[in-house]
Amino acid sequence: MTDLTDPRVARAIALAWREAELLDDKDYETWADLYTPDAWYVVPTDPSTDDFASSLNMVYDDDRMRRMRVARMTEGFSPSAVAAARTARTVSRFSVAEVSDAGVRLRAAQVVVAYKRGSYSVLAGDVTYQMILGATVDTDRIGGKVIRLLNCDDPVSASGFLL
């Protein structure tokens, strides 16, 4: 078991938390810049597949789709984004699948609580991150992220926010 206080791991966890804060703050332009251009951001519907290209996903974003998604969330044309739920999320239960000076593959649990029109809803899932460590902390980037919702193959309701 890898020591979570390993400085490389601590940087990776800090990056996951930085991303979580940006998403709760709906600061999508800054959020998108956390990703490397070749990173995939995926929310699958199939709980067991790793072949995302051949199966249906809720989100399957390369850089181009991610940039379009940011535009959608910010430009004011999307009624659901305009009326987006407020969110507060926690990311924890970290474990390390792989660590090197170049990067860290991290696994975590994420619980997103959303509030809209008098109702709270919860979206919980397992997240894997491929964190790319830069020369300095400021240049650490997300090289890939997969969110497996507990209810990915059942009805998922979300309103104008990202996981």
Binding site: V43, T45, D46, A53, S54, S55, L56, N57, M58, V59, Y60, M65, M68, R69, A71, R72, E75, F77, S78, P79, S80, A81, A83, R117, D153, D154, P155, V156, S157, A158, S159, G160, L162, L163
Partner: protein
């Protein structure tokens, strides 16, 4: 003193319906009885249950059912309820089984619903004859691979019910280009609104440029142009009878067998063409590329399934103010996987809880549900295009695709069924 009843015929008029139809729980309960327990309700596509023992679970009129293929290849829709004490006998959304065993006392049933086994049967000698206790069964019929079931064993044959929707179903499945159609994935979500709000939406061309501006600005110019039907006089809606209607958004794709050769293949599909050259004829490739976005129309069948451009839209009423939607992506079974994958990408772009289209629809529908609570007797208007509705040569009431002819057809059927007590 007479007891007031929830339903009265004047709740639905030719050009308007009462807002109460979205909000009154008693009306919802009546709808379950008079519509969802009386007519054909779509339950599955045959590709979801491809071989003996394959099953899926869903609900019909709020009741849990299993749709399963038996050993002889027949399709059964069975009540998911043990005959002993009522537990569900199947708890999975889909799968493959040799039969169904109740988890409570292990009564076991065959794929045809027959009661096969009772543990410790001595307590039932002379009390229970297994032949008398099969799983409940709905009448089940299919057309072109689409499977419907009904509690009403006296209802007209499915094909009679589908009527003039049938030729449009045939056209819809032309997008599989000769391959069997298969369901390749499902987006499921719920919205806080009445099921009829969604029923209306699939024949509502009027909302598209407003609600889906975000999607329109994110796609390539050719795709946006295909869905720019607001001022296209060839984009029309036909009322087909029995509550069914077809909303044609891209007439050029409404019959994929018809190709005058003038349409340019969208540049976004160039990588597919490159991959297919040498493996398929030019004609096959052109045909597959022209069908990437589906059939050019939404065929809205009453009450719960639409064959919508390139996918199935299924609605499942949960309660008067909650509805579950399934958007089922489709591909060619045995066709080129690169094309099926691209169809998944097109589906993901619009559909699902994080798509660029569905969440914006759902926002509009939830706002309708909330707003309709104000003055529940105030009408919801479905009169757009009454001033320009004509009868087509086929005898179908017809107006522009942004008009509400399809909604009027659905509500006429709704009124007939709800008035029949």
């Amino acid at each position: 003193m007479t007891t007031p009843t929830a339903w009265s015929d004047d709740l639905v008029e030719a050009d308007r319906v009462a807002g109460r139809l979205y909000t009154d729980p008693e009306i919802f309960a009546l709808e379950m009885q008079r519509i969802f327990h009386r007519t054909w309700v779509w339950v599955a596509h045959e590709s979801e249950i491809p071989s003996p023992g394959s099953f899926k679970t869903t609900t019909v009129g709020g009741e849990p059912v299993i749709v399963v293929r038996d050993r002889k290849g027949g399709i059964n829709t069975l009540l998911n309820r043990c005959r002993h004490r009522g537990a569900t006998v199947c708890d999975l959304p889909k799968g493959k089984a040799n039969g169904f065993t109740c988890p409570y006392h292990n009564w076991s049933y065959g794929l045809d619903g027959a009661l096969r086994g009772i543990p410790y049967p001595d307590g039932y000698e002379g009390v229970v004859d297994k032949a008398d206790y099969p799983l409940g069964r709905l009448r089940t019929e299919s057309y072109l691979g689409m499977i419907w079931a009904t509690f009403n064993h006296d209802v007209e044959p499915l094909e009679d019910f589908l009527g003039d929707a049938k030729p449009w179903m045939e056209r819809f499945f032309k997008q599989s280009n000769g391959y069997p159609t298969k369901v390749t994935g499902i987006h499921k979500f719920r919205f806080k609104g009445n099921w009829k709000i969604q029923l209306e939406n699939t024949t509502d061309g009027y909302h598209f440029p407003m609600v889906h501006k975000s999607w329109m600005t994110s796609v390539d110019a050719e795709t946006a142009d295909m869905m720019s039907f607001m001022n296209d006089p060839t984009a029309v809606t036909h009322a087909l009878g029995n509550g069914h209607s077809v909303a044609i958004m891209a007439q050029a794709h409404a019959d994929l067998d018809v190709d005058d050769g003038t349409e340019e293949i969208q540049p976004r599909f160039a990588h597919l063409v490159d991959a297919l050259v040498g493996h398929y004829t030019d004609a096959q490739i052109r045909r597959m590329m022209r069908s990437m976005h589906g059939c050019g129309f939404n065929l809205n069948t009453f009450p719960n399934v639409s064959l919508s451009l390139s996918f199935f839209r299924v609605l499942i009423p949960i309660s008067v103010d909650e509805t579950e939607i399934w958007h089922m992506a489709l591909g060619m079974d045995g066709g080129p996987e690169i094309v099926n994958a691209e169809r998944l990408r097109i589906h993901e772009h619009f559909q699902g809880p994080f798509g660029f289209g569905s969440p914006d629809d759902a926002e509009g529908w939830e706002r309708v549900q909330r707003g309709a609570a104000a003055s529940p007797s105030m009408p919801i208007l479905v009169n757009r295009g009454q001033n320009r509705e004509v009868t087509s040569p086929e005898g179908w009431p017809t107006s522009h695709v942004t008009d509400e002819t399809g909604m009027r057809e659905a509500y006429a059927m709704y009124r007939r069924m709800m008035s029949d007590d």
